[in-house]
Point group: C2
Chain length 391, copies 2
């Protein structure tokens, strides 16, 4: 095992009905808050009313609203949120939504106490040492943002989709209520599952430690669990046990534990995917299900043993030949993505094959900061070409 | 999955040589500290000198020493430590040792800011809301105390071994340096492995949730990993990869993740074991390897399916009959305890069979507070009688 540091101070409150405790358990009593959310779904399903009621009952009555966060949140909306937070002198942020909302809220939390250009948080020129306290209510299991210090934003001028990470960005408290995810439709449930799996496999396949049974079993176990829970949910959207399991598994997939001890790792799937969701506004999980099988097939050449292990331990695939076993595992994962309705080709998401060279340039530009330095443009073009259309 | 809250704020610094960073990374600069440790092993293996050097280099020069913590730490020594902390007006605690040292240091941390009788922390009459900051350096992987809010103490007058838990007792930072565990002898390595396994299986077998694949796979994976790492270490005490793996696995075994979501659980193995280590001063892990197979054999009757699952997923045991599969799993674990040199009978630890009724009374007294309310004295006597001597 390699050296690491782990420090995840987020307080998780998990269970059906827990959103009704947000007033009491958020630690925000007496504070003036900015309530950040997305579109109108939380008003339709009653979550908005319940949160306002709980906050109000706890004496949190100064609530400035900031709705309108988009999937793949954009820099212009983030900047306007920072201005509002400053003008209204809010003292804390409550984010209600999926990873997009929580990510943008993190940018607002840091930006509210910073006078420079918040884009610096994403291009690496600004490392925040303070931020407003952030409380999250998760509505879409997917990104893990509810229990990590990461945040992603898309620059709507340049279409760059960049990520940030800082210790001050961890939510103080995150409320995870599986029951409110019953209304999440099948497609976004599936995209969330793909996203969670993507977080688990990046370090699993790219970490430098040869013998890492703690991390390997953690990843293999969670991937299997995410697949089982998703299958159950797609058969019955109101299967609460499965909703709860997917929700907590997606958090555990990207809260820092999986990569702790695997050494230096890279994020090739995320680097290749970000230009897809950044430029074409496909759901991040949908972009990932396109990229992952293509990347895996490429990467099997370098490390067939680890991919064979994945095939064996996740799918129970046996084969006399290690490479064959590895590739059968890739096919099994791809088939599962198709089964749950997540795309596996650029064509399905209307991304033109002629854009591949430009997407590759974007991925390599982004990858410079995220450990994808050993890929040539030809490598990335080859990966993207192999998933241009369904084969 | 059942409702839960999870909040583990301990900052982990892990890796060979990390103890040399304690001055810089402990956050104790300028503070007057109490240095708590056990016997002389940290002086023999150089750990003491390296810690003093690192602390001093970081300007932490006011160091009050408090050595002499015993395995199965006792209340009288804890109370003297609290007096010393108060008299010397220390502002923080640095604990260097295994679970005994870290546990006693937690009691001192809470007691230094409390004017009542510290026994109240253990009998449930005192719930601390503040404590001195605690930094830990772990030397024995076993109890998980380096990343949890628990602490156990033995009342040397009554021989009661009681446990406490409080949010303020989590270490602020814990340094985990696998290299310094190379000198840990085979027997205490084995007892530590048993202890870690015991923490994993209590919630696994007694939790109330029927479908808990996240937690089940987490537990099964860590048990297998602990066994593999221990086998490697006992073949070569300086196998650093295996030392590191055992160290982190033992932390993950009892940092709150395993039981999160399994619902109400009980601690029958710990309740029955505590009188053994409390009264007869056997190592806690040694006491556990005596109790666990006997308890499992008893508990198979109530829930054969879960024990059969354990047998299948940890040991790869198949059988046509669920109960047979379950019992074969118990036998396999017991055989492994014997293989690593941990006792499986009271006789091996010179605990007289005629004391069994008294031990059972003690266990039930302790168990009232820890969820073992559905056991009769006859049950506990039956369990203890079945492990009186090796069969």
């Amino acid at each position: 095992m390699k050296a690491f540091e782990f420090h995840n101070p987020t307080h998780i409150v998990f269970g059906n009905g827990c959103i009704d405790e947000i007033g009491e358990k958020s630690g925000l009593s007496g504070k003036r808050i900015l309530l950040v959310y997305g579109q109108n779904s939380i008003k339709r399903n009653g979550v908005y009313d319940r949160i306002i009621k709980s906050l109000t009952a706890a004496g949190i009555t100064e609530i400035v609203e900031y709705p309108g966060v988009r999937p793949n949140p954009v820099l212009s909306h983030l900047k306007a949120g920072i201005e509002l937070a400053k003008t209204e002198k809010v003292e804390a942020i409550v984010a209600v939504g999926g990873g997009s909302v929580i990510d943008e809220a993190k940018g607002i939390a840091a930006g509210a106490l910073y006078d420079g250009d918040i884009w610096g948080l994403y291009n690496g020129s600004f490392a925040p040492e303070k931020a407003l306290p952030l409380v999250a209510v998760l509505t879409i299991p997917a990104t893990g943002s509810e229990m990590n210090g990461g945040a992603v934003i898309t620059n709507d001028e340049t279409r760059e989709k960049f990520g940030a990470f800082a210790a001050v960005l961890y939510p103080k408290v995150s409320f995870m209520d599986p029951e409110i995810t019953h209304s999440l439709p099948a497609d976004y449930t599936a995209y969330g599952a793909v996203d969670a799996i993507s977080h688990l496999i990046e370090g699993y396949f790219t970490g430098e430690d040869a013998w890492s049974p703690i991390q390997d079993r953690y990843v293999e176990g969670l991937v299997k669990t995410i697949m089982e829970a998703t299958d159950r949910i797609l058969a019955n959207l109101e299967d609460n046990d499965a909703r709860a399991t997917l929700m907590w598994a997606a958090t555990l997939a990207w809260n820092g534990l999986a990569p702790s001890g695997v050494g230096a790792m890279a994020f090739p799937n995320h680097m290749i995917e970000h230009p897809l969701s950044g430029r074409y506004n496909v759901a991040h999980g949908a972009g990932l299900s396109i990229v992952i099988p293509a990347w895996m097939r490429f990467a099997v050449e370098k490390n067939p043993a680890k991919f064979a292990q994945f095939a064996a331990n996740v799918f129970g695939i046996e084969a006399s030949n290690e490479k064959e076993q590895a590739l059968n595992g890739v096919d099994a994962l791809k088939a599962w993505f198709q089964k749950i309705g997540s795309p596996v080709s650029l064509a399905e998401s209307n991304i033109p094959a002629e854009d591949i060279p430009q997407i590759a340039d974007d991925a390599l530009h982004l990858g410079k900061a995220w450990g994808m330095t050993d890929y040539s443009k030809e490598d990335v073009v080859r990966i993207l070409t192999s998933c241009a259309s369904v084969k």
